[in-house]
Symmetry: C2
Subunit: 359 residues, 2 copies
DNA sequence: GCGGAAATTTGAATCGATCCAAGAAAAATG
DNA sequence: CATTTTTCTTGGATCGATTCAAATTTCCGC
């Protein structure tokens, strides 16, 4: 079931072809890269020799060094590589990036820095013209490493206040407001917040003060948006429980347990991601609470899955694909400037929100 | 909103650092690649100079040429790049590949050959140690191009009878049989087949003879499996309509229209992919036909979505993740041999199949 | 058959590192 | 202090191509 391939001692180089065909390397090179400037007779002879010797064509490794451009953009994350194919948000983002790359014929190199040791090496040795960084948790390490490469890069999600790096994100304050207003207008007055990480790897209840000094400004801004708007409706925001999760199942469920263990159960949940929102719907449903009759939920992100879950999720949609497209263009058409773009968000009302229950 | 970055006329090279620090380039190189063999004092001095001059660290482009190994595996397809993030089958496969790459610290380079012109170039210039090819349609072109590179590569799906190339696929005949037997045992006697492409870009009804001479042996084998098994149950397979689709919505729906336009409506559909099966469920439901009460459907592939659709899909599951993992290992641990692996498949009975309707 | 223009071909230089045999310096030994 | 070891450092060779100014051919018209 396995046969050995002819053991080519050493791959054929362009120079070998040149010598065998009796021409200079320059001409041999031209035969492959600019055939039109080589006399037909010579061109055919060289090609024939190459064919006969089993030449694989100019090695991109050699060409690369000379050309300088890789024609590929790197997408980095601190998650394992499978994140790109499994996480709904990442997938939509990647589709946007793909679109831009397809249009220009660029390739995509996925690089994971999940492993502390390999993190550095993978980022340092990636053959790319620039990076797009998914700054989830531990983003600053990733950014620092990438900065070292001195290649153009864009951080997704505006996770940092550092104005010296390019980034694309959404208007989180506006998004938070939209979500809060929607619920307040439905009559809700009793809330709970499922928060994205504020910084370190931890989870649990946090105070508004802790949020205000969060490392991740996205998290901070979404909360600010929630609270600003709720205050307008006369809600006492100091009473609202805020549970910081790691945006995955375990800590989100722990948060729900904690929130619903209290006396004052919320009638509405403000979730900072669709992921958490969907986990919440599942958890509530399993506990016999109806969504939205008993509890309303608003997510954040606008991933496609949100439209398919039961009930379909009301959410603050980001233009994810467009962000991806723009990020890719920032790298592909890099002009040496730092760009920070803020995109708008949109409230999408589906069935996970409804009027506040009476009483 | 945009400030200019210091315009570095020409990036700093290792040689520049060496000269500035007053050491040979050999030593400068060692400072970065094998710091332990350099005297501490010298090492610090060189590092300081590098820091001061804003050196980005050894350029991977240079290192690559010397080292020879890219430490990345290329995944090629004739679809647009977004295919990897949107197609359910591809996504699961990529997760398997990712797993293997994460484990060894290798990167993944996605390369699309959707565009005829760029096809060649993208494959020819990809910086990878080997390729995994998603041989959907137009696969032979992709294989030919890749073969030129003379790098290790694996074709997914065993799409070709060419025994000289490495490939991993499933036992399509066994899969076809499993699906057919399941339906036959439920009492079905009236079938229709939604076939994957046989070769060229076309769709429409085909005869068993055409299938037997199909370029894509996977398609051929699945059909052979269906028919072999159905014959055992006394079904006259020459009467079974076979509609070749392009495995997407339009042609699949056209196929269903054509199939259900006839007098003898099937009570069971053998779909060669979950994708088509799910489109069929949707189409039938929209037409007021109940699945499985009126029509039973068996898919092929075993993508996760199949478990979530309504009704959940009965299917022939491939070990997709495992195939991905193995494919990646074939490249990563390439030993110069051609390997062809055939994996087993499994019937997963869910709710899209039921007893044949009476009468 | 000659001069000059146009078309080809040549070969050295370059891209940015790593490797390694040989030489130099520092440390250990007698 | 001389000698041997051990530890560092050096600089040329190499990885595999592309580029470009200069040299050579070929082609033309007369």
């Amino acid at each position: 079931m396995a046969s050995t391939i002819e053991g080519q001692a050493r791959p054929i180089r362009l120079a070998d072809i040149a010598k065998a065909a009796g021409v200079s390397h320059g001409t041999a090179s031209n035969v492959f890269s600019r055939p039109e400037i080589v006399r037909a007779e010579v061109r055919e002879r060289v090609k024939a020799v190459a064919e006969a010797m089993g030449y694989a064509g100019p090695d991109p490794k050699g060409r690369l060094l000379r050309a300088g451009k890789v024609n590929a953009i790197g997408v980095g994350t601190t998650e394992p590589l499978s994140y790109f194919f499994e996480d709904p948000f990442a997938r939509v983002m990647m589709a946007g990036i793909s679109e831009a790359c397809d249009a220009t014929g660029a390739g995509i190199a996925l690089v994971s820095a999940a492993n502390q040791e390999k993190l550095a090496w993978n980022i340092q040795s990636a053959l790319v013209d620039g990076f797009i960084l998914f700054c989830i948790e531990g983003g600053s390490r990733l950014v620092d490493l990438t900065r070292e490469r001195r290649l153009p890069f864009v951080a997704l999600e505006l996770g940092f206040h550092d104005e010296t790096i390019s980034a694309i994100g959404v208007d989180n304050i506006a998004g938070g407001r939209l979500a809060a207003r929607h619920l307040a207008e439905l009559g809700h007055r009793c809330f709970a917040v499922l928060s994205l990480p504020l910084g370190e790897d931890r989870s649990g209840f946090v105070t508004p003060e802790m949020v205000r000094s969060a490392v991740y400004t996205g998290t901070r801004d979404r909360l600010a948006g929630y609270f600003e708007e709720l205050s307008r409706f006369g809600v006492d925001t100091t009473k609202i429980p805020i549970f910081e999760t790691e945006n995955e199942e375990k800590s989100t469920k722990a948060g729900l347990e904690a929130i619903f263990a209290g006396d004052e159960r919320p009638t509405a949940i403000l979730a900072m991601s669709d992921r958490m929102a969907m986990i919440a719907i599942e958890w509530l449903t399993a506990r016999g609470l109806k969504v939205p009759q008993d509890v309303s939920i608003v997510g954040f992100d606008g991933v496609p899955d949100g439209a398919l879950c039961d009930p379909p999720l009301t959410t603050i949609a980001q233009p994810i694909t467009e962000i991806g497209r723009r990020a890719a263009h920032m790298i592909l058409d890099f002009d040496g400037t730092v760009r920070r773009e803020t995109m708008g968000v949109e409230l999408i009302v589906r069935a996970s929100t409804g009027p506040a229950p009476k009483g």
